[in-house]
């Protein structure tokens, strides 16, 4: 199998498991539909694929990694639903489809986000009960530290409170390291806990930090030059809203160079982590992606 086939296979495994996890009774129909709408809207499933790939490389339990990765994807999905709300970024489209509140209304969109965050902890605490493994609790703690008021939510707070004010490059790094970086880092580090390989934590952190920055710079470049159809969302939005991005601060060429630099550093570490080469190819793919 070549890289693209492996990526598609992993995405399909993640999608299948997400469907299974959401296929439960006892949820009011409109709420259930709203939750499934956003989870099934797709996305690259980068976070769960990072979790399972690194766990595989460390000889950990892949099925457990899959559930941890899926829970992280649910947290990621909740954050997108809430970020898209009129009071926040006020986005009408996401992944080529109307945003959750456009279809289900704001109240249900808020509740669907809340429910996804809740659901992630339900899944993971059940996993920890089934395994009775202290490392799994450590992994859970990592995830929710990353998604909380000192992680992802701090990043989103800085983002929305700094509109109409130009962030410095350092502030921009900090904002993104919180808003998207922290949860990408957790997607990677939980693999070390699941596999009982805390000795690899530092290395994995370094990898994920370079990957996270490169990922965000590429996002900013795509917002500047990307193809609206391939992206599935409005481009040029950052520019119009006068938001600082890596492109507006560094210029397009310098931003591309920075993305390449961080990708290169991430790949060097990935080669040491994963002898199959999948992780480094994934890192390369995230640099050249078109959405």
């Amino acid at each position: 199998m070549n890289f693209n086939q492996m990526l598609l296979q992993k995405q399909s495994i993640v999608n299948k498991r997400l469907n299974e996890l959401l296929d439960i009774s006892g949820i009011p129909e409109v709420l259930h539909n709203s939750i499934k709408y956003s989870v099934e809207a797709g996305g690259k499933r980068i976070r769960p694929i990072l979790t399972i790939s690194i766990t595989e490389a460390l000889d950990g339990n892949i099925l457990d990694a899959l559930d941890f990765g899926c829970a992280i994807e649910l947290i990621h999905t909740y954050s997108l639903i809430h970020d898209d709300l009129p009071a926040m970024d006020n986005d009408d489209f996401r992944r080529g489809k109307p945003t959750n509140h456009k279809v289900f209304g704001e109240a249900i969109a808020i509740l669907a986000g809340d429910a996804l965050l809740n659901f992630a902890i339900e899944i993971l605490s059940q996993k920890a009960i089934n395994n009775n493994n202290l490392n799994y609790i450590k992994a859970i703690n990592e995830i929710f530290k990353a998604s909380g008021a000192r992680g992802m939510i701090a990043g989103q707070t800085i983002d929305i409170t700094s509109e109409n004010r130009i962030l410095s490059l350092d502030e921009l790094y900090k904002m993104h390291s919180l808003k998207t970086g922290a949860i990408i880092e957790a997607s990677c580090t939980v693999a070390a806990y699941i596999s009982g390989r805390e000795d690899r934590l530092e290395e994995i952190k370094q990898f994920s930090q370079h990957l996270g920055i490169a990922f965000q710079i590429v996002d900013d470049i795509l917002d500047f030059v990307g193809d609206e159809k391939k992206l599935g969302k409005t481009v040029g939005k950052d520019l119009k809203s006068n938001k600082a991005t890596f492109v507006t601060i560094l210029g397009l060429d310098e931003a591309k160079m920075k993305a390449q630099e961080h990708t290169k550093k991430a790949i060097e570490i990935a080669n040491g982590l994963d002898k199959t080469g999948f992780l480094s190819k994934l890192t390369e793919y995230l640099l050249v992606r078109e959405n």
Copy 2:
């Protein structure tokens, strides 16, 4: 000490611990202020007091129970912030103060709610790591099943999607057993897990279900006849919005009788659970409260 002094003492212990738990660095100032604003707005702290009182009665670890109770109070607070939002119940006042979004804006209010839910998991997973006790994970799982899409969030979904439609008495019971009952039940049942006394689970569930229903009926009665100043929120809101309540369906006298019946049943069980008498007095107090 009489009951009122004991209640005040327990409330003060809970408030002190909530302050300690929230006194952390690394949260953006406006988000931190918004979180503290709603947590410090007060409330009776019934949920954590239930957790610590029942744990005390079962000879469990009170300090751990305190943190579990405080985490539940943070979940309760997040649910109030989100429920008050314009897209939901659109409330301007809560506990005599402007609601969170009135002070901090909708975006920060949404994020503060998200952060509180996250924070509850951070606290509890850290507790579980410190203790490495499977029962603590079971307690965590109970809490988030209660607050999730098949519990509290299901109740809120039924509530907001049934406005302008009159619920039957059975539907009203179901809605409240989810919206407020599930998390009250969890406040009580976690005490059994913390104390390693799962043999008392069934009894505690019975107690909490009667208490939860009585609590909700009294809420509806207070909305109908209560003193706005003592309640700290607008009264008569249910009537104006044409919402089904225990008073509109049963009438005031029948509603009072039902509240007394459930209180009586809860007290009978409380007497068996807690020989100090505090739990039964707390149950009685919730019937005659004015806010």
